[in-house]
């Protein structure tokens, strides 16, 4: 491997100082020996996972390896780059990081290119044209870099609702035909579409609290003030019977859980009171 790296010429082989294969120290992660890390391959081992995530694929990783050494894509020292690429892949596999198949395909391609370059070239003149096995890869890398740069520039453009904001005014005062009301079907279909999408992102979960509770949460929140406490009992709306009390109670618990209201009692056994959490919350903590 080192001999072929030298034939590349334009890459000062950093492994010159490297001890022989037997003398290399083994990397241990979670007590398990993993692959050797070349001297010039510095990554904090615990950062590998993050590191892998920061690449968008094998092309991105290759570009990184090339750019890191200020090399021209057009003159990839295949042997050296392949060696470094393989080292990353080995470490990732040893760490049992989930490695997308594309990384392995690229590894195979690099190995193939490398072996083809070791073969003596046919001597015919036309061979110069299309036998350099690096060409297809070089083109692919160039194209990928082109779009990678384009993506960065796209992200830098001022974007609506992130960097700039639309200016609008209320149309409340305007007269006109009443807007169409949503039908229940339309609303349900819209919600079903949202839920369908959510079901595709497995980790997401829409809680299925009762609507009566959610609606009561809104009502109670609106009745509360940040400056003034309201008697807990009056919020239970006992006029609605047992059901109403239960719903109100659950709503108050939910609001508490969400950190939207706070409880107070001026002294033990005095009536429990509630208020909306407000900005003046800190100055009023005496009530606790």
């Amino acid at each position: 491997m080192s001999s072929s790296a030298e034939t590349e010429g334009d890459l000062a082989p950093p492994e010159a100082a490297e001890p022989g294969a037997d003398g290399e120290m083994l990397y241990r992660v979670h007590g398990e020996p993993v692959a050797e890390l070349p001297a010039d391959l510095y990554i904090p081992p615990d950062a590998l996972e993050v590191f892998l995530d920061s690449f968008e694929g094998p092309l991105d990783l290759l570009l990184y390896l090339i750019r890191r050494q200020n090399l021209d894509i057009l003159a990839i020292p295949i042997a050296e780059i392949t060696r470094q690429y393989m080292a990353y892949i080995e470490v990732m596999r040893a760490l049992r990081l989930e490695l997308a198949g594309e990384y392995l395909v690229m590894a195979a391609l690099l190995a193939e290119i490398k072996s083809r370059m070791l073969l003596p070239r046919p001597s015919e003149a036309q061979s110069d044209d299309d036998t350099d096995p690096r060409m297809a890869l070089i083109r692919q890398l160039q194209e990928y870099e082109q779009f990678k740069t384009a993506a960065e520039r796209l992200d830098e453009l001022p974007r609506m609702d992130r960097d700039v904001y639309a200016a609008g005014a209320s149309v409340e005062a305007l007269e006109g035909p009443p807007p169409p009301a949503p039908t229940l079907d339309e609303l349900m279909e819209a919600l079903a579409a949202v839920m369908h999408r959510l079901s595709l992102t497995a980790h997401h979960h829409v809680s299925t609290e009762q609507l009566s509770v959610r609606s009561r949460m809104s009502d109670i929140l609106e009745r509360l003030h940040p400056e003034r406490f309201v008697d807990f009992v009056t919020l239970l709306m006992s006029a609605e019977g047992r059901q109403g009390v239960v719903v109100s109670f659950l709503a108050i618990l939910e609001l508490t859980k969400a950190g939207l209201i706070e409880w107070g009692q001026s002294e033990p056994y005095s009536p429990i009171r509630l208020r909306r959490r407000g900005a003046d919350i800190h100055s009023a903590e005496v009530s606790a």
Binding site: V171, L174, P182, R197, S199, T201, A202, H203, S215
Partner: protein, 225 residues
């Protein structure tokens, strides 16, 4: 001389405040409370109530002859289009959309089921941004109202549905909406039957190679509040 320059500095500050308020009021989806207006001027020196009101008066005067006006309501300040331009605005709307937009319906549905809910929470569920225009629209149709503010930085508004929303749907209580489980079933049935509830190109999740770097609507819900 020094008096003159102090006055100049003050006039400059006032002008700067006026413009900052203008920016905030035009960008907002609902009336902006005085305290939030002050927060917007944080970089412009001490802004007390009289100074704020002075700037608001200047702003109001500036739009005196224009098509919009600065109005104050119980919940704060906002710009609105003057009533006498109703005909022009109506004439500009090509053919009144027979149906409400999907983004608006989804937003409305999420508010109905998740209320009281912040805009960031709605966005986390939908996976994409909800425009100020939609929030303004829903409030002006009086289907949605602000019932409070969440006590986190920025004090985002908490949205809930209104009485009129129920009336327009022909319901008397929110509980008459189908339970979520039923809608989930509807979504399942639709996908089993190969019916794509919008968007049309829904496919099943592939093991994303850039997985953890990809946008994560679910994870954001927690992270955002």
């Amino acid at each position: 001389m020094s008096e003159g320059s102090t006055a100049d500095v003050e006039a400059e500050q006032l002008a700067a405040i006026e413009l900052a308020l203008e920016a905030v009021l035009f960008a907002a989806a609902e009336p902006v409370a005085a305290r939030d207006l002050k927060a917007a001027c944080a970089d412009l020196g001490e802004v007390d109530q009289p100074l704020l009101e002075q700037a608001l008066e200047r702003l109001e005067a500036h739009y005196h002859d224009r098509a919009i006006e600065l109005v104050r309501s119980a919940s704060g300040y906002r710009f609105r289009v003057r009533a006498r331009f109703s005909a022009s605005v109506q004439a500009a709307q090509p053919e009144r959309p027979a149906r409400l937009s999907r983004a608006l319906l989804e937003t409305l549905a999420i508010i109905a089921y998740r209320q009281p809910v912040t805009r960031a929470e709605i966005e986390a569920v939908r996976g994409v941004a909800v425009s100020s225009g939609i929030m303004r629209n829903l409030q002006e149709r009086e289907w949605v109202r602000v019932v409070g503010h969440k006590e986190v930085p920025g004090r985002p508004a908490l949205y809930a549905t209104t009485r009129l929303f129920l009336d327009d749907l022909g319901l008397t209580r929110l509980e008459e909406l189908p339970p979520l489980e039923q809608i989930r079933d509807l979504a399942d049935v639709a996908s089993d039957a190969g019916i794509s509830l919008a968007p049309p190109e829904v496919e099943e999740e592939a093991p994303a190679p850039g997985g953890s770097t990809g946008p994560d609507p679910g994870g954001e819900a927690e992270a955002r509040d």
